[in-house]
Symmetry: C2
Subunit: 670 residues, 2 copies
């Protein structure tokens, strides 16, 4: 008595990747609805099952679909836009493009291109992290791939959320909408600890736990990041995340390049998954993750391509081969990460790392039918040896190519048959991608002549996101300020005195990231009034966004810093600004703690344009609207300490004051 | 007036890789006979040239064929035979296979498979090193690829030469036959310094200079090799090669993983080429070659796949991408080896490293027409950006695949058209390769139960090639030997005294590499007669070849050493030998110098089987027949020093003496 099934794949080498690593040299897989109902030798399966559709898989390998454990799929549309750059310079190019172009339509198109590419290389499941995951989910579900989709949460304004509260809300709605979907597993994706505040991390962990969904984040990708954590937090990245609740979630930790054994024990204890991204870690020179050690300790390790802007492809065959290669060279041991174990981390290992091991990653009865069939007839796969049971893994990992994949089935549905994609219109996606690329080209070419690009061409730049609450007040008596600072409620943590010579180049480029370039010379003044140190630097300042609060101003803008090692005259010629402005001032600067909160205080006497009296500035970095509101309230209290009230606040920046002073002067001359 | 040409490729993005890196976005290449006659914008070229055959290359890149600067092409037939092993264990598997299977027909078949694979990935030129290069040359010339073919020269017996004199002669004939061929450049290929003697290296350098042909050798591939050179030669590998004439040739140095700046200066001074092999160096855990530094110093660097048994493919697209990736991570600098420079070393750089830069590697008027056309429509290559002149290099290096190659032309001849190979019968090659693989499978399975494999499964083994001249003489008076050693003409460099308990397992496996396994316990005896140290080891000894000389015996055989950390009883059960034999003896051992030549002297008193008197053994390692003859003469002289003459020489080994003693004993019992 035979059972009727939907699809029967027969006559291929079935590589199950089950716990016993069963391989059937002439094997078959029976699929009913979305699931696998039988796996075994062809003769046994055909005896027990009849199928509506039977596919001959002679000379092919029938294996689990590959699992891409970390990527940013819409970045297909920025593939090869800029390569071979330092990360900060690269971001300087990329982020304005993202801000300009990333929309729901953009991410859907990028998802179509990415899914087409992944299906072609035999991938059926992946873990994404980007903006507008709602739109990505719609697209991916339509195409029919399995995915863990993480809605990105940042302290900075993002394409889909101005503040992190907005991002959290968006993420919550996304989870509510998609949780329980047969293909899409929504997830919370705080981008990384260094683009988060402690509150943000705690809120993300809470959200993930509330819905019992995975949390996807970048962990210790670069040495700089790991060093910064030790310097700033006095602990490793993993420990910092642990202290902020992130390890109490179903965690998928991407990269983990710079982690130590203690970190590994922490990750293992909580059953966290690690997404190892060889190409990206090599291409960006981040380092080689200690994967051999992770696996030895029993961590759940998967393999990911990372986004195609730093890879530049989504080819998991190449990625798993690379995982094996670099593990060997890093440990100086060619026996490390052998072919079978490598295929394991690229399939069931990745599924487990994504907390989806019960659904996918191996060919086992009861699991979803996520299957790739690789045609092994290509001359690059010849010949085949059979004297060793692991020879088939060698072929798959060390010689087969993405282009060998013939058929792909996901959740029991055909996605590719005989190398023809069935659920993505590849030609239309290509044409649309080319159109977007032409628009990005035009945008970038326009920027080529921008101050930003000129700055990049001249020197490496460092990007700083600036998101501040601040207030500026004219004060007549500077001594009152000095005195107030010695009061009991204020603790001064550092103090400096310098003369600041600012030279502003004003541009009319229309580039909101590059409104002004400041050439600043700081002369530090010692106790005896002597100049102790001179520092010169260039800062490209965006126009930014200004938001009025009842008792302060919140400003957000991007800044790009570069050391200035040439003369002012050189920069004047090189940048050819529309206008120039000078502001010289004498500045006392303090960092203080008030009610356990950091503030910076400037007491400025402006020498050019010559302005009477002093200006007191009180500033604090902030990350969210609620935090900004709290700090604005504290600023009001602080003003009271200085005997000031808000009604005389100066709304203008020094450049604006200088500009109007210039205008008055010119008016007087005329 | 238009000129008539044979082939005109038009409408593609022409990437010339000339000195100015000219790229023509809508470009064309005109080919007449074997050469390029024009390169430029399509509109200019079609104005000036008419063609017998015009090929539309829309959406494609027209570029130089890739150059694979180091490989061993017949090893396609051993692709995936054994992976994830230590080099010595891997060789233990591979070398018996080579000895059994490598014939002219085998290398021709391997060449067909390899050329098919290389043409498919857009390679037109390569540098090979293997045995029977004469046969490989015939095959490659017929297929129509350009190649530097190096006939391997070893001190050990090789599949095509018993001694290095034979190998040199073979190489000379090969050069005489092929030098001047339009496609094939013969070369001298001493395998490596550590498989060579000084005489061999000098002879190879002489041969290469005599014919002005390149010399291709492995240089400093592993740290062990580099360390051994310093320990044995008191200098780096490069300096050792320099001292033995190798740098005075048109050198192509493969690998160069462990070289220092001084070595780089030496290689640069002589215009040597370096073949960088990323996959192989990673997969065998050899290390990462300092390619960034080599390029900075101006060395001629190419990229090679190495043999497909240690890669496991011949995919130069993957190889060049990897070259870029690992250079970045090794220097912790993502700007190192950017896409354009990476394509450069995979094309014109490789051609220059192979001393063929005047012929191939770039699309320039007057050069041979060695061209690959890559179809860039694949979804993994989407989209295309044009805002930066290097974007096309990014696409080729970071996202394109071997499977994108549509057409290949070499020396003006079509090798592949629309992904159809025109000069290799790929299906026939695949079938024949599968047949050979089945035979290798059977051979290896037979060996699976062999003592060798059992030894490998138990412990790592170390392979020693043994090639000795020796003589054994019964002596009555041991004091005469001790006295002779203090004579003036003999210098004793070391002396030891030990009791040697040998337990031989005799196998009837028919495996000539595994005739006997010796379990040996050495008890070292101090001055006071006390045991100072005990050493136990296993040695698997081949039957070897015995060649009678007028006054000595030359023996060559392979040995595999392993430490013995288990009991004799365990090994008896584990290896289950057909027979066992015991030889116990008291041995004095000296290393001496006689006429500036090293000899080992054993003075043995055999305790089991109990034999009367003593045996004197005189041994010397040798590498060639002429050297063996010289040492045999010196042995005769030495015998004179001990008051002995050759007529009483004992031809039998101790096992044979023991065996006949056993037989006699058993006969007496019966």
């Amino acid at each position: 008595m035979t059972q009727m099934v939907d699809i029967l794949l027969r006559g291929g080498t079935v590589v199950t990747m089950n716990d016993k690593y069963d391989v059937y040299e002439d094997g078959a897989v029976a699929i009913l609805d979305d699931s696998i109902v039988a796996v075994g030798p062809t003769d046994e399966i055909v005896r027990d099952y009849a199928a509506r559709e039977t596919v001959d898989c002679t000379d092919s390998v029938i294996m689990p679909g590959l699992v891409n454990a970390h990527t940013h799929i819409p970045m297909t549309l920025m593939r090869g836009l800029n390569d071979d750059l330092r990360l900060d310079v690269w971001l300087g190019y990329l982020m304005p493009v993202e801000r300009e172009f990333v929309t729901p339509d953009f991410v859907k198109l990028g998802a179509r291109v990415a899914c087409a590419e992944m299906i072609r290389s035999g991938v059926t499941s992946f873990a994404d992290m980007f903006y507008y995951e709602e739109a990505i989910a719609e697209q991916v579900a339509e195409i029919g791939m399995r995915a863990l989709l993480g809605q990105t949460i940042l302290v900075f304004p993002a394409p889909d959320a101005e503040t992190f509260e907005d991002a959290l809300l968006l993420c919550r709605r996304f989870i509510e909408h998609w949780n329980g979907h047969p293909l899409i597993q929504p997830a919370v994706a705080p981008h990384a600890w260094y683009t988060a505040t402690p509150e943000l991390l705690l809120a993300c962990a809470d959200l993930a736990r509330a819905f019992d969904v995975p949390l996807h984040t970048h962990v210790s990708e670069t040495k700089l990041e790991a060093d910064n954590s030790v310097n700033q937090n006095h602990m490793s990245v993993v420990t910092w995340l642990e202290q902020h609740g992130i390890l109490d979630t179903k965690l998928l930790a991407a990269h983990c390049v710079h982690i130590n054994e203690e970190d590994m024990f922490s990750l293992r204890r909580v059953g966290a998954g690690v997404a190892h991204c060889p190409s990206s870690n090599l291409k960006l020179a981040s380092g080689i993750a200690p994967v051999a050690q992770m696996l030895k300790l029993g961590l759940k390790v998967g393999v990911g391509t990372d986004g195609p802007a730093s890879n530049n492809d989504l080819d998991m065959v190449e990625e798993m081969r690379l995982a094996s290669f670099i593990a060997k060279v890093a440990t100086q041991d060619p026996t490390v990460l052998p072919a079978r174990q490598t295929l394991e981390i690229a399939t069931i290992g990745g599924a487990r790392a994504m907390h989806m091991g019960h659904l996918t990653g191996s060919l086992e009865v009861g699991k979803r039918a996520d299957i790739a069939v690789r045609d092994m007839r290509g001359i690059h796969n010849q010949p085949h040896f059979h004297n060793h049971p692991d020879a088939v893994y060698s072929r798959i990992v060390y010689s087969s190519k993405a282009s060998d994949v013939a058929h792909v089935i996901c959740n029991g549905r055909w996605l590719m048959r005989d190398q023809v994609l069935l659920t993505v219109d590849e030609d239309a996606a290509r044409e649309a991608a080319i159109d977007v690329a032409a628009k990005i080209d035009a945008f970038v070419i326009e920027r080529e002549s921008s101050p930003y690009n000129k700055l990049v061409l001249l020197a490496g730049v460092q990007r700083l996101e600036s998101f501040e609450v601040q207030v500026k007040m004219p004060v007549d008596d500077d001594r009152a300020v000095h005195e107030a600072l010695s009061g009991e409620s204020i603790t001064v943590t550092s103090a400096a005195h310098y003369r600041q010579y600012d030279h502003y180049f004003i541009f009319d480029s229309g580039d909101q990231d590059a409104a002004r370039l400041r050439y600043r010379e700081d002369e530090f003044i010692g106790e005896d009034g002597e100049v102790t140190q001179v520092r010169t630097r260039l800062t490209l300042i965006g126009e930014g966004q200004r938001e009025e609060f009842p008792n302060a101003v919140m400003l957000s803008r991007s800044r790009f810093l570069a050391t200035a090692d040439r003369s002012l005259r050189f920069y004047q010629e090189y940048f050819a600004p529309a206008r120039e402005l000078r502001v010289h001032k004498d500045r006392y600067r303090w960092h203080i703690l008030y009610k356990a909160t950091d503030f910076a205080i400037n007491l400025d006497h402006v020498l050019e344009p010559e302005l009477p009296g002093y200006f007191l500035e009180i500033k604090a970095r902030t990350w969210s609207r609620s935090d900004a509101e709290r700090k604005a309230t504290l600023i009001t209290e602080l003003l009271g300490q200085f005997g000031l009230t808000l009604d005389q606040a100066e709304r203008r920046e020094y450049t604006e004051i200088a500009q109007s002073a210039n205008t008055e002067r010119e008016g007087a001359r005329a």
